[in-house]
C-alpha cells in the first residue's frame, strides 16, 4: 500500500511539478500581465530578450499604423509626437509604482520638444533608449551622476527573496512595460531616420557594386600595377569608391595580329604594354566612356621568321584593345594591326574575344 502511495505521489509530482519548486520564467508574448519570473536572472533574461517583433499590443498596432502612413517629414513628425504622447501616458501610469519611471518620462518629453522644434531626426540619438543588459538599465548616459531607470535594482530587490514571488512578477511586469515603452520610442526615432538610413545603405551598396566593376569587370591589374595604382589612389573620408582611371605598366598580354598580305592573315602575338593609361566615368555603378591607350612592344613567331614590333594600343570597352605596331624582321618593316586581349578575361572566354577581333577588323 505504501509503495502504491509513493508511486502516486511521484507520479503527481512528475506530472504537475513539485509545488515547492520554482516555476520557470514565463515571458513570451505581449500580454505583460502574464509574465512571471522567480529569480533575478530569470527576470533580467526576460528583459534582455524582449523585442517588438510580432508585437500585437495596442501601442504597437498604433506604431505600425503610423509607420505605413506617407507624408511630408513635418506630418510624419507630428504623427510621431502623437505616438510619443501615448507612450508617455503609459510611462506616467507607472510612476506611482516605480518613481524612476519619471526619468523616462522626462526623456520622452525632451525628445518631443526636439521634434517640435524641427530638429532633424538624424541628429537625435536612438541609443538613449537602448536597454543595457549589463546593468539592466534604461536612459543610461554614462555621465557621472546620470539619472537612469534602474530596472536591475528593482529586480534585485523584489526577486531576491523567494518568499513573495508575486512581488517579483509585479517588478518584472513594470520593468517590461518600461522596456516596451523605450523600445517604442526607439522604433519611432529609427523610423524617422529611415530615409536617411536608406540613402546611406544605398550609397554603400553602389560603392560595393562599383568596386566589383573595378576589380571584376575592369582591366585586370598585375601586382606591380596594383601597387602603383594604390599609391596613386586618392580616397575620400569615410567610404570611398574606386578611382576613375588606371595606369598600365609592364602589362604582358596575348593578342592577335593581322598583316595585310600575310598568308595566314591572323596570327597570335605576344604583347607587352610598357606604359599606358585608361580612364572612364562612373554613371551609378556603371563605368562609361572608357578610353585609354598604351605604348606596346610585340613578338610574333610566324612560320617563316621571328618579328619584333613597337607601336600603340587604343583600349576599347569590353576588355580588348586595338592598335598598330611597326614590325621588324627578315622580310623588312611592316605595319600590323593588333588586338590585345586582357588576359584576366581571355582565359574566361577566348572564343568570344577572337570573334570580337575578327568583327573589328572586317
Amino acid at each position: 500500500m505504501s509503495v502504491l502511495r509513493s508511486f502516486a505521489v511521484v507520479t503527481v509530482f512528475w506530472l504537475f511539478g513539485t509545488p515547492f519548486a520554482h516555476a520557470e520564467a514565463s515571458c513570451s508574448g505581449f500580454d505583460l500581465s502574464k509574465w512571471t519570473a522567480d529569480s533575478v536572472r530569470d527576470a533580467r533574461s526576460c528583459l534582455a530578450d524582449f523585442s517588438l517583433k510580432g508585437c500585437d499590443a495596442g501601442l504597437c498596432k498604433k506604431f505600425e499604423a503610423w509607420k505605413v502612413t506617407e507624408g511630408v517629414p513635418e506630418a510624419r513628425a507630428a504623427g510621431a509626437r502623437q505616438l510619443l504622447s501615448l507612450v508617455r501616458q503609459d510611462v506616467n501610469a507607472m510612476v506611482s509604482e516605480f518613481p524612476s519611471a519619471s526619468v523616462l518620462d522626462g526623456d520622452i518629453k525632451q525628445l518631443d520638444h526636439s521634434l517640435e522644434q524641427g530638429v532633424s531626426p538624424d541628429r537625435i540619438s536612438n541609443r538613449q533608449w537602448v536597454y543595457n543588459p549589463q546593468h539592466a538599465t534604461l536612459s543610461e548616459t554614462g555621465e557621472p551622476g546620470d539619472q537612469k531607470v534602474d530596472l536591475g535594482g528593482l529586480l534585485s530587490r523584489e526577486c531576491k527573496a523567494v518568499v513573495a514571488p508575486e512581488r517579483c512578477n509585479v517588478a518584472l511586469r513594470v520593468s517590461a512595460r518600461l522596456r516596451m515603452a523605450a523600445l517604442l520610442v526607439q522604433a519611432v526615432i529609427t523610423e524617422l531616420q529611415a530615409p536617411s538610413r536608406s540613402q546611406g545603405a544605398a550609397t554603400i551598396d553602389e560603392l560595393d557594386e562599383r568596386w566589383a566593376v573595378y576589380f571584376d569587370k575592369g582591366r585586370f591589374q598585375y601586382p606591380w600595377e596594383l601597387a602603383v595604382n594604390s599609391h596613386r589612389y586618392h580616397r575620400d573620408p569615410g567610404f570611398s569608391g574606386p578611382p576613375n582611371d588606371q595606369w598600365i605598366l609592364l602589362h604582358p598580354s596575348v593578342g592577335y595580329r593581322y598583316l595585310n598580305g600575310s598568308g595566314k592573315k591572323l596570327e597570335q602575338t605576344l604583347l607587352l604594354e610598357v606604359a599606358g593609361y585608361y580612364r572612364w566615368e562612373w554613371a551609378g555603378a556603371e563605368a562609361t566612356k572608357l578610353r585609354g591607350g598604351s605604348l606596346v612592344v610585340s613578338w610574333a613567331d610566324t612560320a617563316t621568321e621571328f618579328r619584333r614590333g613597337i607601336g600603340f594600343l587604343v583600349h576599347m570597352p569590353k576588355n580588348y584593345s586595338l592598335g598598330l605596331v611597326q614590325e621588324r624582321g627578315a622580310s623588312g618593316h611592316k605595319i600590323a594591326l593588333v588586338m590585345s586581349l586582357d588576359l584576366g578575361k581571355v582565359v574566361q572566354d577566348p572564343k568570344s574575344q577572337k570573334a570580337s577581333f575578327l568583327e573589328a577588323i572586317r
Binding site: 523585442s51 536617411s196 545603405a201 596594383l226 569615410g238 613567331d301
Partner: protein
C-alpha cells in the same frame, strides 16, 4: 529579440559555411552553463557571417590565370624569359599553398589601398544590409560582432570608415556611432594595430577611432563594450600589440564591468594557438564574452570559478608534449617591436606547421 552577432573571419580560404566553425566553437562552451543552455545559442543570437575572402581569391586567381596564359603563349613563341609573370603561376592553388592562401591576404590588405578599400566596402555593405533588415523588422538594431585575426583589422578599418566624422556619405548620421552603436565588439587575436593605416587620407589609428567603447549612445563611441583576447604564445598578436593603457579613458575602466576588457591566456591544447576555437575554449575568454553578450548574471561567479578550476592548461596533451609545443612556440615568437614584415618569418616557423590545423 534577435541579437545579431556578426562573425568576421581571419586570413585564409573561407568557403560557404565557414561560420559553422565559429558557431560550433561558441556553442561548445555555451552549453557548459546551465542557465544559458536553457535557451539554444541560435535562438538567443542570429549569427551573420561576414566574408571578404573572395576579394583576395579573385585577385590572386586573375594573376595566376594571366601568368599561365602568357607563359603558354610565350613558350609557343620561343620566349624563355618570362620572369615577370612566372612567380605568379600556381598562385590560385588552394592546397599546401600557404604563401598565397594566407600570407598574400595580409600583404595585399596592408600594401594595396585599393584592395583594402574594396574589402572594407564589401564588409560594410553586408553589415549595413543586415542591420537595415533588422531595423525594418524590429524597429531597433541590436548587434555585436566577433572578429578573428585579420578580421579584427578588417572590422576596425570598416567601422572606422563608417563612423568617420569627416565622412561625406549621404545618410551618415543615421549610421553614426551613437545611432548604430554595437553592444559588444569582440576582437580575438587582435592584429588591428599591426595592420592599421595612419596616413592623411586614412587616419585610422586603432586607439583613436570611434571603434572604442563608451556609454550608451555616447558620441564617437562605437560600442558599449570592447573585448580583447590575446594568447601569450600567439605570435601574430605580439608585434604592435593591441594593448592600450587607460583606454579609452579612466572612467570607462571604473565601470562595472569595465567598458574595455583585455584578457590574456596561455593554455596549450594544440599547436595552433591562433585558432579561434582554441581561444574560446578558455573560461577567461568565453565567460566574460558570454556575459557581455547576454547578462552578467547568466553565468554566476561560482560557475565561472568552477570552470576555471576544471580547465586543464594542457588539455589532452601529455605534459612532455605540451612543454615541447610551448618551447617551439616561444622560439617562433616575434618581438613587440617587430613590424608586420617580421611576420613573414614567423609564418614560416609557425603557420607552416599548422597548415591543416584549421588556421584562422
Amino acid at each position: 529579440m534577435s541579437h545579431l552577432v556578426f562573425l568576421v573571419h581571419g586570413m585564409g580560404i573561407h568557403e560557404t559555411g565557414w561560420e559553422s566553425k565559429y558557431i560550433d566553437a561558441l556553442n561548445a562552451v555555451y552549453g557548459r552553463y546551465g542557465f544559458l543552455a536553457k535557451k539554444k545559442l541560435t535562438d538567443r543570437f542570429t549569427f551573420v557571417p561576414i566574408g571578404y575572402d573572395d576579394v583576395f581569391r579573385e585577385t590572386v586567381a586573375n594573376w595566376a590565370l594571366g601568368a599561365t596564359a602568357f607563359e603558354a603563349e610565350a613558350q609557343k613563341a620561343g620566349l624563355s624569359s618570362t620572369r615577370l609573370t612566372s612567380w605568379l603561376k600556381g598562385a590560385d592553388a588552394v592546397d599546401n599553398n600557404f604563401k598565397w592562401t594566407h600570407a598574400a591576404d595580409v600583404l595585399m590588405y596592408k600594401l594595396f589601398s585599393l584592395v583594402r578599400e574594396r574589402v572594407c566596402v564589401r564588409v560594410a555593405n553586408q553589415m549595413v544590409a543586415a542591420l537595415q533588415e533588422q531595423i525594418d523588422k524590429e524597429g531597433e538594431s541590436r548587434w555585436s560582432v566577433m572578429a578573428h585575426s585579420l578580421g579584427t583589422a578588417v572590422l576596425h578599418d570598416t567601422l572606422a570608415r563608417l563612423w568617420d566624422k569627416n565622412s561625406t556619405l549621404p545618410g551618415r548620421d543615421a549610421f553614426s556611432a551613437c545611432n548604430t552603436q554595437a553592444q559588444v565588439i569582440a576582437m580575438i587575436a587582435n592584429v588591428s594595430r599591426l595592420l592599421e593605416t595612419k596616413t592623411d587620407s586614412e587616419p585610422y589609428d586603432t586607439y583613436e577611432t570611434p571603434v572604442m567603447p563608451g556609454s550608451v549612445g555616447q558620441e564617437g563611441r562605437g560600442c558599449m563594450y570592447y573585448f580583447n583576447a590575446r594568447h601569450k604564445l600567439d605570435p601574430f598578436t605580439v608585434p604592435k600589440m593591441f594593448d592600450p593603457q587607460v583606454w579609452p579613458d579612466a572612467q570607462a575602466l571604473l565601470e562595472e564591468p569595465p567598458l574595455y576588457t583585455h584578457v590574456e591566456v596561455e593554455h596549450v591544447h594544440q599547436w595552433n594557438v591562433h585558432d579561434i576555437g582554441h581561444y574560446l575554449d578558455h573560461p577567461d575568454v568565453h565567460v566574460p564574452l558570454l556575459r557581455l553578450l547576454t547578462d552578467p548574471t547568466s553565468i554566476s561567479d561560482k560557475e565561472y570559478a568552477q570552470a576555471r578550476a576544471d580547465f586543464k592548461p594542457f588539455g589532452t596533451l601529455q605534459t612532455d608534449a605540451a612543454v615541447r609545443v610551448r618551447q617551439k612556440l616561444e622560439d617562433a615568437m616575434a618581438a613587440q617591436s617587430s613590424d608586420w614584415l617580421v611576420l613573414g618569418k614567423v609564418w614560416q616557423a609557425f603557420i607552416g606547421k599548422g597548415e591543416k590545423g584549421g588556421l584562422a
